[in-house]
Subunit: 337 residues, 6 copies
């Protein structure tokens, strides 16, 4: 029986203007549902695990549509609570060339998820079933209720022998109080985590650590081992990304484990939809860990998963293990018949 | 120069599932922008007046799209304030036959409009320019700030010689405190109004009036003259509507003026999109009054305008005076070449 | 080998707003190509004949698209001339219920077809191959060049033993000089025709004939035999149509032949797209004549063909003989598996 | 925990021409996945049960898409076998008015499902979990392998205490050998069934029973009790349906249980998509039985479920218990806000 | 109060095949309305001015749709005359890689605009309100009536103290008599203009000037000062553009003012829709002049405006001043949240 | 009168997911009809020949839609046989960047074409009319009946003086018995062919020839002359293709004739839809041969035809001779007005 990967997080409706028109020019939208938790649970399901989402959705047609979408991705609905009034939404206008994509949010703080209390979730059942539970820093920025749910749930799962994965993912616009407000909550989550997604910037800015190094690479090598040690983290991983002048993107992944760094190649590739690539990378790391890959293979697999997610429509990774392994090998096929 | 018709009200984004699918089945939405004020300002513009909207919209791509849509309808942007954070949205799933249409709202109370203060609007300019200003009972249900803006604006316009039109439009789900909360505010607005849209139910339930009559028709004839007298209203008008078993709708309009009732024929017709028919009816009454139609002609014109609005895609009436007059005459043309 | 049915006429591009939006509301159009000649040639091809069109199309991407569309319908491209500069266009907005459909034309008089000269067509080849040639009164209203081509072509075909069919189809807006301008040209065509589509109104208004009868039915029975005699026409046929208050249409066909009238039942039916129904009726008459049906069967077949054309998207009839015969029988099937 | 409803059957891809164009006119198709088993499992899931499907799907992108679609409907993927090569497809062209809808099948006998062997399914697990298992006569017409799987599975479930439901659903075009080939297999299934969907025609033609009655109603009352007795069936139910001349459909349901007949009202209603109404009716019967409704309520609920399925896009019923109960009450709501 | 920018010019309907299909392959078109005047008036409105268009549109549904579109862009309808019969149309098929885009025009010379007389426009009102009036060489090629309107209007505006902007924009296919026909009209307009858009080719070919220089750059530096002097032009500006082998485009702008040349960087960028880039460049120059930018900043701003217009769907620039300034700075943002 | 180009081959329905979604994500498909024979007959028709297809299609709505599509391409329906039951289908999911396109077939061996017997085709008529007949190796892999039809037809055409063209096109997945099964059939066809499309891999693997050379270029130069000699082939031609790392494709064509090789330039270009490029190349060779081009011009023309086919939506080449000649010249036009 496949292992159970449980993600905790908000589901948002993504309303995207088709093609390259602006909201002001178009009159139709394509919609889907996403969020970091959705992406991780879905990506792990495609790879072969049983994916679950712990969230709360309104008991109205929008909530129904969200659940149908999650189920289509193969995510189990067992841990989804219903109630509250609203679902967060965001509008996406695709950029082109020198014109950047634009995201416009509606007021998500009143959503069912962000107004949920820890008692809305069946903690014992979740903790009993979860082999891994995944959290992220976006969710951590929301409300006190949400933060409490995260910490309680992480503890419960840990107690029952599950692994806790935490993706730092600091979004400046979401923390009214800035790094100083965020620091304590990130420290709490890092102290509970077994696997952490982050890079040197998180150490510098959120944790307020210092380094004498000046290049990103050297800062990473200096700071990540200290973080791992301080919070007793089994595996730390992350990426460095860049947008190139020819519109391709570059991505290099790293993993730090058992006192050693491993880096993937720095790969460049065309991008169709960049949202969700980080969550695909995370899923690659989790799969490598669960499947007992060597760290070298894990980091390469995760980078390839991130790259493939950029070739897929929508936020949510859709690639199987076989497809990711093929992409790792690097040959471009003409047509698969 | 055409007279200036100013409407005060919220602009909402309407997100409609195309065809007859449910939100849970589809993946695209058609969007437009509407609201009672939008509908009245637009309908009057089509008839030949200069339509204005007093509202507040966020300074983001959603607000830009709303303004572009209003401008497309020919509504002047001069009285639109920018700022605040959100735009109210609603989702519409079309019903079919025995399955009713469904509307799902997002949290509109945090919208730019509903968080605006009276100081956001240029009262003096509006009052100076408005020949008629239109308000409705939906807007009245929102927040204290909104209610204050309505009353201040109505007074200012009245002082400058403009007419005040008020459409009672009581929506039970929007008044937490029910009729007892609503009564005082409706009374305030009625006291300021020259033209009022309402029927006997509003008199009975909102104003708490009593009658010995039992049929809707007789209640109307008993109560409306008393309302007109009590609040010193020049013109009261409204409709009785029904859905027939063969899926057609029926509509009969009335107007009460100079102590006399006039009724339109009770017309039956096929319906494509029923939302906005009431606002078209209101516009017909306003045009009749401004154009000096006889009350008989005014009420027939208004009923035809309401009927035509049901044959138009979207909330917003799109018919010219000539088209409404043709529809009043009642012949169905084959194809206009 | 199937008989060859040749139609002479203009090809126009039909640009239709999808659904029920107005041009002012929408931003996409569906396009196809049509015209009376196209409809008749296509309808006859579907029934099993070899359909040809004599027309002229510009040698540009619009002309290419028109030819591709005609070929898709199975119409042979052999008699199509290329050259000139333009293609006529019309925009169609679908009506709904009490709101009529609207057609807006562009300037068609400068089209390749309407500026073509008789020398643009290979008269001898056409005359040699045509078993029937079809003309209509819309084409006759265009230009002197077009009228000359029609008369020359009709004579040539007649000389070679082919039948000439003429559909009166008088469109008031196209004859600047009214009936007095039209009369001589209609008389010329009637004198050349073997099969004529018309009804009593054409006799009264175009030909200026008189009758003491007052009902449409009696006028028809009085005038058509006189027309047939005066112009020595083998077969005259036509329809009476009505739009009912429940949005269904009614159609009753007649045929006058060998001195006798036969009438179809007066059938009522739902209508999806009413344009082209008359051409389908014509095709039914032509097929009845060619296939040796009894006049009773011919007129019933033609009426059923007209009815089915109203259930088909676009101007052009698409029904096979078998489908029309089934519709004549009158049972509504649930689903054909 | 909700009861588990397991359906056995083929999943087919439905490729539908949008709107009312013919395959020959259009260039896009809408696709979904359906089948009697899919419809029943989905309908029961919407009502609140845990729906499962026993089927086999190819391990390719078509099979993946089918599973995603089933999951979206909330159907559990646990009993779905993967392998074989193909998925059956059918094309649907919507009829309009007098023009019937048309269905065109591809060669389904080579599908993964129709070439599967009983050993492809985990019989013990299914039998252990199923509270009800549903089969239908369409599936029974396929191949010897399929028939064997049905009978083995029905026996296993029965042994473990589950109920067996069988829907006769005889499709003439699928039985090469006609009624004489079918009879023995239907008898085998009836002998295993607890709940049976059928009407008097099935008794007359498939089972070859005789009656002196001539009206459908009297034949039903004569024959169904005999069938129930002969095969020891707890509950027999079914419908009589008709297409009315105004394009509405009528449906009257019956249930025979404990020696007594109960009939629903004969309801008439507008139809958007008629496919799947029978499966919705079946689900209504199953729910009534499981929920302990009175037979009167059960048959009314089932008829309302069948009616609502006709207002929904696609084959698959989408209504909740609450929605069906509202429809039973019979009021048409304007708009649900 | 913002300055008023008035453009004079024809509005055409743009009918575009979606994606990369040919007219012969597709069956839908996307439509919008455009023209040099539309583009300039719209671009200036987006930047913050009040944009007006002087044009004439037919009083039919096509004219209504054009006006709605212009209003959506924020263009004021006050100076638009209604009447005449037709609207010019053009069809656009998108090219891909080595296959060029194709434009097919209908007969625009009979359009309402091209058959309008100077008396159709309210010259005094326009002259009184216009801070700048914009004309272009495409319009100049149309008819004598159009040319007369241009010259009269330019004079009137100049007399009232407004600035006259003229964009040379010579289209060879539109001038039957070639450069010799065009020369006198261009000279007339240059003599009236304060701001002129042109480059060395216009001086060489339209004005018939000579130079000893051979490179484009040196010819420009030699000829433009002579043109400025001869016609007493305050500001001359223009671009050099190229298509690169990797499908990107390059653009370098220049401005000549107060006896000095300033050049923007030669920027390269990806192109989504190249039509309208020149008009965006013009708008950038006009804004720089009105806002008192330094010539260096003006030419850089104009080049960035031209580049951004290539990333926008449709002919019409949609960028705000802030967006253009960001693009000038040259960083590519990932996603604007 | 243009020469008649007859192609023999299967017509398949191509069902393509629009844009870049997976089958599992989307719900609409675009359909067209294609096949090597379709592509060659259509490409030759566009160039100016009369194209025919010898095939068999089912007598149902799918077959009707296929014929309509072929006719739209200008292909003559005279040699198309109707009957059998099915049409082969394939699903296409577009790849993006590192994610390859995927093709999923349905069971085509039961199609009307693959179950047709030689007696289904009017051999004498075909042989009498064909100036060239074209066959391909994909068709050769199907069934014994198909292979027999190919060989009989090739012989008949050859006897009547027509040319036989054979495109080797070996698809490994279609030959169950591999090269050893295929060899004898390829030898039979080569012995009948006048013009052959192949390269060195076909000689090495299908024919089992040997060479001491190691580079592809040298192997080609060694083996092709031996093949031409052994099978007495007038003209052999083919391509070498590559996918470059920047997503462009490269293509170099060769022709071997009269004992000499000629090579086109190795051209690189952007690709929209790569399917059908080989058939466009074949058409270029056939046209060069029929038009009496020099071998240098023929091979350049064929390569340009192949390149242009990659810029066209769908499998089927759509370019005229003039367009191909322009592309040969190599300039990229901006917009063709």
């Amino acid at each position: 029986m496949p292992k159970r990967i449980v993600a905790f997080g908000e589901v948002m409706m993504r309303l995207q203007v088709p093609g390259y028109e602006l909201l002001t020019q178009a009159n139709t939208l394509q919609y889907s549902f996403s969020g970091t938790g959705v992406n991780v649970a879905s990506a792990m399901t495609k790879i072969g695990y049983d994916g679950f989402l712990v969230t709360k959705l309104p008991d109205n047609p929008l909530g129904d549509a969200a659940i149908a979408f999650l189920q289509k991705l193969g995510i189990n609905r067992e841990f989804i609570s219903r109630g509250g009034k609203y679902l967060g939404l965001y509008f996406l206008e695709n950029g082109f060339g020198q014109r950047a994509s634009r995201v416009t949010y509606t007021n998500r703080l009143e959503s069912s998820f962000n107004t949920a209390h820890v008692s809305d979730y069946d903690l014992d059942l979740i903790a009993k079933k979860a082999d891994i539970i995944h959290f992220c820093g976006i969710t951590l920025s929301m409300t006190d209720d949400v933060r409490e749910s995260m910490k309680v749930l992480a503890k419960k799962v840990k107690e029952k022998g599950g692994l806790v994965c935490f993706d730092c993912n600091y979004r400046p616009s979401l923390w009214v109080g800035g790094y100083s407000q965020a620091k304590v909550h990130f420290e709490d989550m890092l102290a509970l985590a077994d696997i952490v997604m982050m890079n040197e910037k998180d150490a510098l800015y959120i944790l307020g650590m210092e380094t004498a190094e000046t290049s990103r690479g050297e800062q990473l090598k200096d700071l990540i081992p200290k973080v791992a040690k301080r919070f007793n983290i089994q595996t730390v991983a992350g990426t460095h990304r860049a947008i190139n002048s020819d519109n391709t993107h570059s991505l290099q992944g790293y993993i730090f484990k058992d006192g050693e760094f491993r880096f993937s190649e720095n790969i460049s590739f065309s991008v169709y939809d960049r949202i969700g690539a980080g969550d695909a990378y995370t899923s690659g790391i989790l799969h490598g860990e669960l499947a007992g890959f060597s760290p070298e293979k894990t980091v390469g697999f995760a980078a390839a998963a991130g790259m493939l997610a950029c070739t897929i429509v929508g936020d949510t990774p859709m690639s199987t293990e076989a497809e990711i392994l093929t992409a790792m090998a690097g040959t471009i096929e003409d047509i698969k018949r």
